[in-house]
Amino acid sequence: MSTTDTAVDATARARDLLGVSRLTNQALTSWLHGLRGVDQVGCEARAAGLGTRSIKNDSKRWAIDLAISMIDLTTLEGADTHGRVRGLAAKALSPDPSDLTTPRPAAVCVYGDMVATAKEVLGDSGVKVAAVATAFPSGRASMPVKLLDTKDAVTAGADEIDMVIDRGAFLSGDYLTVFHQIAQTKAACGDARLKVIMETGELVTYDNVRRASWLSMLAGGDFIKTSTGKIQPAATLPVTLIMLEAVRDWRELTGEMVGVKPAGGIKTSKDAIKFLVAVNEVAGEDWLDNQWFRFGASSLLNDLLLQRQKMKDGVYSSATYIADDSPSTAY
């Protein structure tokens, strides 16, 4: 299937869902602005309420293992080296060498030029390689460059592509441009799954987060993702709540499931479990699987491993008992 065909498919499907004969920016605007609003106070209160759930014993054990299996273990630094990426990939293969029953993270997430290195270590282990693309993190590049960036990562073996939307276009109301960029990137992904980073910290309002979520799903994103991790605030619970509501309602409308990935700022097991509670009670248990929910994180894994050891041995270890290839950034 060629790039243009898929883009046309996405447009045709969008026309169908919107009930319009031509997909214009006007039509998209009406549709997105017709979504129900979000009350900020109520949304934050609901998120805080979910955060008070007390997850203990067996449920906690289960949740920790699930959370580990949902991590996209990430390094996205200018200072990344092949050695560091190899180390991270090795960590993904055996997160806790002292306990080989520890589940593996879902994926290793790197810049495009590191895909081959990560793939070399991970092979067919089942741990995926995800690459950020489309001029991550700002997204400020021309479309041919973004598409080439994407294809380059896919050719190098990336199983998943994390793209960024053009926040400038979104904030100026040019939804059609954002739509086309996502649809074209999706086409360039081939078999790779596409995560659409909305950079919610730059969208600011919850209404914008909801609209961007629906726009991303309409354009064919397989995942909607909060942040690049380069902008604060990154993945907050209320923002993730809005996105979980969006994928839940999207399934009601289309029958299709879309994944959710909060990324950046989730550092502790306690936080991660709050997110899982939200997934469970808002989107539903079908999303409690790394096919449909991910954590974009680096230091979270080590805290989950510490908690896992604690649940097993009954005592807290110090961080030095967690084997890590890049301990300086992990604690």
């Binding site: 109520g42 008070t52 759930r53 906690k60 899982l276 248990e285």
Partner: protein, 479 residues
């Protein structure tokens, strides 16, 4: 089996000592009641928690006399600043012993620990802090240069928020210089009795707060006692009317905070996910044992089906069960009598043709329980749209225009609370102006704060509690 099963996370009972027997707290001391002792049970298990003495009319007389002596000799002569110090001290002790109070309230009342821990006890402490601040500033409250207290106040409180209602009553009474004879509800006396221990711990002068336990007869003895200057009552409209009849023609003042049948009004431009949360908070908070509950949902017809569908999905995630479990959302019905009343009204709703739906959750074998229930296809003439159910039961009605919403919302003998859900600010203001309700919430529900006056219109009672307005009821020359 659900994928993500939450393991039990019960709060420890060990944090609170429950005595086997409780006497009356009169003049700073524990005395035996001369009535017939009764038992208070844990509604979640039907386990007997303690024997409670009943105050006879003679005991009430003793309590009123102690309150009078404390008023004339100590409390009315004390400076506002000094009264404030006692109130601050009580507030701090409530915070320090918050966990103890939360567990005891949950045991005696059946409400979830999540609510006692996060709502009842912190708000009770907040009421004492707030009124402590007023004690030395009454000259600036707008009721004249030197407003005077009434004297001895008789206070009768309900079982739905036992400690919180005590705080709503005792804090403003003490801040304004009154002394108190308070009767907690017969099914939930324990936190009031623990509060008596707090008064001792705070070294509050004897007789300033007296707590007498018992049922209707004890309440009647307080209302009828000639030494009482003012009655403050929260409870049913039926009992409120009896009190009003009893004190008619006497010099006694009264504030009555009675029943309600709050309308929660949802327009089609409402923020729908938060609206669903607000509806849940409006009627399933505290098992619906809330006088200002949003028990009538008025939904614009264009979104009625969607709202009901989303509501049903949300109700299916409510966790009903052990109130001490930190993950419980809906606890036990407070008493067998209340459960019977809910059941009979729900049966009436079905018989009248409304469509009944509940979330089908499993209920514990022992104790008093009722599933979160929703009635659709309800009309104004149904009993479940008119009578206060005081349980986890929501009646859904529809409307077409804002005018019709107002008319339906006001078409009730009650007038305590209402909620408006819309994205239009101007409509909120227009609606709030038309609604005959003491409290109108916009895009939220069941929010309480000591600075905000609370009270009703029509059969929901008169007088206000909380805020500057609430002080008026405890000062002379006013209501």
């Amino acid at each position: 089996m659900p994928t993500f099963e939450y393991a039990p996370a019960p709060e420890s009972r060990a944090v609170v000592d429950v005595d086997s027997t409780y006497g009356l707290f009169i003049n700073g001391d524990w005395v035996d009641g001369r009535g017939t002792a009764f038992k208070t049970v844990n509604p979640a298990t039907e386990e007997v928690l303690a024997d409670i003495h009943e105050a006879s009319p003679d005991d009430v007389d003793l309590a009123v006399k102690a309150a009078r002596t404390a008023y004339t000799r100590v409390w009315s002569r004390m400076s506002g600043a000094d009264r404030g110090k006692y109130l601050f001290r009580i507030a701090r002790i409530l915070q320090e012993r918050a966990r103890e109070f939360a567990v005891l309230e949950t045991l005696d009342n059946g409400k979830p620990i999540k609510e006692t821990r996060d709502v009842d006890i912190p708000l009770a402490a907040a009421h004492f802090f707030y009124h402590a601040g007023w004690a030395d500033k009454l000259s600036y409250a707008g009721y004249g240069p030197d407003p005077r207290p009434h004297g001895v106040v008789g206070q009768i409180i309900p079982w739905n928020f036992p400690l919180l209602m005590l705080a709503w009553k005792v804090a403003p009474a003490l801040a304004t210089g009154n002394t108190v004879v308070l009767k907690p509800a017969e099914t939930t006396p324990l936190t009031a009795l623990l509060f008596a221990q707090v008064c001792q711990q705070a070294e509050l002068p004897p007789g300033v707060v007296n707590i007498v336990t018992g049922a209707g007869d004890t309440g009647q003895a307080i209302v009828d006692h000639p030494g009482i200057d003012k009655i403050a009552f929260t409870g049913s409209t039926g009992v409120g009317k009896m009190i009003a009849r009893s004190i008619a023609g006497t010099r006694k003042k009264a504030t009555l905070e009675l029943g309600g049948k709050g309308a929660n009004i949802v327009f089609d431009d409402a923020p729908i996910d938060q609206t669903v949360e607000g509806i849940v908070r409006g009627i399933f908070f505290n098992q619906g044992h809330v006088c200002c509950a949003g028990s009538r949902l008025l939904v614009q017809e264009t979104v009625a089906d969607e709202v009901v569908r989303r509501l049903q999905r949300r109700l299916s995630t409510l966790r009903v069960g052990d109130p001490l479990d930190k993950n419980t959302d809906v606890g036990a019905i407070n008493s067998r009598a209340q459960l019977d009343r809910i059941t009979s009204l729900v049966d009436a709703g079905e018989a009248e043709g409304a469509e009944r739906w509940d979330n089908g959750c499993a209920l514990p074998q022992k104790g008093f329980w009722f599933r979160p229930t929703l009635f659709s296809g309800v009309t104004q003439t149904h009993r479940i749209a008119q009578e206060e159910i005081f349980g986890p039961v929501l009646s859904v009605l529809t409307f077409r225009t804002p005018q019709e919403a107002v008319a339906k919302a006001n078409n009730t003998p009650y007038g305590l609370s209402a909620g408006i859900w819309t994205d239009k600010g101007s409509r909120i203001l227009w609606m709030a102006d038309q609604l005959k309700a003491g409290v109108v919430w916009a895009n939220t529900f069941n929010q309480f704060d000591p600075t905000s006056p609370f009270g009703g219109y029509k059969e929901s009672g008169y007088g206000r509690e909380g805020g500057r307005h609430g002080l008026e009821a405890y000062l002379k020359g006013s209501i």
